[in-house]
Point group: C2
Chain length 240, copies 2
């Protein structure tokens, strides 16, 4: 389990026993995921799964009227395309690149082949899926009960956990789409955080200055997802 950043690390891949990973390796192809790229649309038959290394992908649902809401986030701790092995082949969500970067791409069939060997890969994928489920459930709760202020904190922390460094490139407009709220609401919330000295904001560039404070201002949802993910996937490095 090397932590060489240059090699592009995905922790799910890294957690596989060597023989399994070596079987997959020849079929892994590194691809660039530019900001805004749609990896799949609702109903698309998935041909590949993606293991992000330094990219972040959001799964979001787009309503008939065009409004959207993020369901969950995937970074180097996971993979995009669980429908491939869950059996549905497609989902009702859209997967969009939220932060540009690289990912390992694997043909769905290769994953299924390995899946059918019923080894460590299956167990790992299922556990990962359960952690995704936790994230979705918590998103539902958060959408119901928490203020935009709190949700912004949660969202920043989720993103931060999937990046190196303490900066993220993300306009308020984009964040608003993810959270499913108005851009003005995000401007408000971000303004408050900036005045508190928790973040520094400037034209699509956010620097987090005080992570502990951010965690305090966030709703409980972040901590729930984090600790549950940690429980399910203990091999994941934990940022603080």
């Amino acid at each position: 389990m090397s932590h060489d950043p240059a090699s592009g690390q995905n922790h799910l891949l890294a957690a596989l026993p060597d023989p399994v990973r070596e079987r997959l390796l020849p079929h892994l192809e590194q691809v660039a995921l530019p900001l805004g790229k749609v990896i799949y649309e609702p109903g698309d038959r998935l041909t590949h799964v993606y293991f992000p290394t330094d990219a972040i992908v959001s799964l979001l649902y787009v309503m008939e009227n065009g409004a959207s809401a993020e369901i969950c986030v995937v970074g180097n701790e996971g993979l995009v395309g669980i429908a491939v092995f869950m059996g549905g082949e497609s989902t009702s969500n859209r997967a969009v690149v939220q932060s540009a970067g690289l990912a390992w791409r694997l043909p769905g069939q290769r994953l299924k082949d390995e899946f059918d060997r019923h080894g460590e890969l299956l167990l790992l994928m299922l556990r990962y899926t359960q952690s995704l489920i936790t994230q979705m459930a918590q998103t539902a709760v958060c959408n119901r009960h928490h203020s935009i202020d709190q949700q912004l904190c949660r969202w920043l922390l989720l993103s931060l956990d999937r990046l190196t460094g303490n900066e993220l490139n993300m306009t308020q407009e984009l964040i608003a789409n993810m959270l499913g709220v108005r851009r003005e609401g995000v401007t408000d919330a971000a303004g408050k955080l900036q005045r508190l000295g928790v973040i520094e904001y400037s034209r699509g560039h956010i620097k987090v200055l005080d992570r502990p404070q951010l965690e305090r201002l966030s709703c409980e949802c972040y901590a729930v997802v984090r600790s549950e993910t940690q429980r399910l996937l203990p091999y994941l490095p934990l940022r603080t």
Copy 2:
């Protein structure tokens, strides 16, 4: 795949190939699930899974301050306790009986044993899990964007699909807990539906008079979940 109602039908069990079901049968025990019974609490190590026949179980998250929100619903189309085979053994949700009835109970270990044979059961469970995921994702969206009126319609339809007949026993207080809103909000919404002649309400007893109208008044979320479930689990009978 008998449809004898007296025998207590769970469609997930019914969809299993005969040999698989016959292996499970000796370990299935019919249990009564009274209204309000808590099947498991967050963090509980699950010992059994439950296949409801005429009971309905809600998975809901209870926040630190006691407020709650429903994550998804399970009736005779599914099972309670996916964490058993997903590998986490527990979840961060609570499972509560929303409508009293019977269920088949199976020791978790028996399910895992069968799971490890990597046959039809595994595939079916994964597909069912994906349909649950769809429901959760849609709940998140719905919580963000739709009015209590619309959500009540969605919720009534989800419950109706899991019951026989067109009546449900459910106080407004209870519904409010599920939706994560105030009881007064539900009173309002239910009052409107009653004035429209869509439902008849009286002290915890609801009769649905005009299902098509209910579907029209509901947000798109119900239809999305329904059609996706149908796609993933085509053996399920479809109510109209």
